[in-house]
């Protein structure tokens, strides 16, 4: 269970939001909404523990993040704005490395290949990432979802950006499946996606300073 109490976020010397509280249990999906610059990405980074809140606390299963970092990061999959791809490596090498670096040493190359084929990159497996289009780069990052069902908490920053209509539907179905299986998803997006069950919406504008 992901819980945040009385969160405040400072960026530079500007207070983005304060007094934010949320509780997310298994099977729940939360969409963080709000206009550009309101602090959606900053909130997601606070929830991952990459940054520390100015006030308040984020906790995972009742333990504050800074005291349960390892357990929390074993349970978390975070996909940020950038796809974390190195231009000199192929999608397969990038994905395999991303899994190994995250601590999923048991994910082998075969599984990575299947995930990439599953997400529609069968013909780009051995091209360097620099020749991929924006949508294809995004897909390489998203392929990690298929290898991360054992991680209950998914935090995704604008996962639908640059994807075509079919891919959006496919991704929405995957996220719905993950929630149905007891996972938790937090995401930001500006576009409508066909989720099986409409996600809860957190309007960050309401907490803006």
């Amino acid at each position: 269970m992901l819980q945040a109490t009385d969160l405040a976020c400072l960026k530079g010397d500007r207070l983005l939001f304060r007094g934010l509280a949320l509780t997310l249990g298994p099977g729940e999906m939360l969409r963080v909404a709000g206009p550009n610059g309101v602090g959606k990405t900053s909130l997601l980074r606070l929830l991952t523990g990459l940054t520390q809140p100015e006030a308040g606390e984020v906790s995972w299963h009742g333990t504050a993040l800074r005291r349960s970092r390892e357990d929390f990061h074993r349970a978390l999959l975070y996909l940020g704005h950038s796809a974390a791809l190195n231009d000199l490596l192929t999608p397969l090498e990038n994905l395999h490395f991303a899994c190994a670096a995250a601590g999923d040493a048991d994910v082998d190359e075969e599984a990575c290949m299947q995930a990439l084929v599953r997400i529609g990159l069968a013909r780009q497996l051995d091209l360097p990432a620099r020749v991929l289009s924006q949508g294809q780069r995004r897909r390489v990052g998203l392929a990690r979802l298929f290898l991360s069902f054992h991680r209950p908490l998914w935090i995704l920053d604008e996962p639908f950006t640059a994807l075509d209509v079919d891919a959006v539907a496919d991704l929405a179905a995957t996220l719905s499946d993950h929630c149905a299986a007891g996972g938790t998803v937090v995401l930001t997006t500006h576009q409508e996606a066909p989720f099986a069950r409409a996600p809860q919406v957190l309007n960050l504008g309401a907490y803006a300073c």
Binding site: L50, Q52, E70, A83, N86, A105
Partner: protein, 222 residues
């Protein structure tokens, strides 16, 4: 844990191989700087012999500084660093793997090239093993200390210059004992003391620098 370490080491070595032009630049810089000195100070053999250890060491130090800003820059720009910080494995582990790959690709070639370049200065044959050993012990310290500086200056505008100002003073002891080892050998007192100090420095840097580096990277990502 070991598999994560090896995965990161393998990836960084692979990346270095795919971008090997960058590595050649470091090595070429080392060779060119060393070759400039005989032109500058003249070809008097005794003088060249006397300055050889210092010149080789200063050139190696500058060459390893040249490559330092690349250590985390690419991973920072493309978001890989974010993912590494979210790894369930300890940060020290992958920091150490990155530094090891960095030393293998930038430090080790200098260690190997140095004895050949020492011939330009007519350095005594018996001093070559001491020179190689002092560089083999010293350049990893430079990489470890430099990594802390690279992490601290990550994402800072004009970070390259700041990085040099930050780490060069820290390199001074390594330079003193490194070049001093060869001088002591040539002077007949034996290089054991300097080499042991370098070894101790390396052990200390290995134990402390990855922690400092990991903390600095966390701050840089805030």
């Amino acid at each position: 844990m070991l598999s994560t370490f090896l995965a990161i080491l393998r990836r960084d070595l692979l990346l270095s191989w795919r971008g090997r032009a960058d590595l050649l630049v470091t090595l070429a810089f080392f060779v060119v700087v060393v070759c400039l000195f005989p032109f500058g100070v003249g070809a008097e053999p005794n003088q060249l012999r006397a300055i050889a250890p210092g010149v080789l060491w200063v050139a190696a130090l500058l060459a390893s500084l040249l490559a330092l800003h690349r250590l985390f820059a690419q991973d920072h720009a493309d978001g890989t660093l974010e993912q590494l910080l979210l790894s369930s494995e300890p940060a020290v582990l992958w920091v150490l793997a990155k530094i090891a790959a960095f030393w293998l690709t930038t430090g080790l070639p200098l260690v190997i090239a140095a004895p050949a370049l020492a011939l330009l200065f007519d350095l005594e044959q018996s001093a070559l093993p001491v020179l190689t050993l002092s560089l083999a012990l010293g350049t990893p310290i430079l990489a470890l200390l430099g990594a802390v500086g690279a992490a601290l200056t990550l994402g800072v505008r004009g970070g390259g210059m700041l990085l040099a100002l930050l780490v060069l003073p820290l390199y001074v002891p390594v330079l003193i004992f490194g070049a001093g080892a060869v001088d002591a050998h040539l002077g007949g007192t034996g290089a054991k003391a300097q080499l042991l100090l370098l070894g101790g420095g390396l052990a200390g840097a290995l134990a402390l620098a990855p922690w400092a580096c990991a903390s600095a990277l966390r701050i840089a990502m805030e």
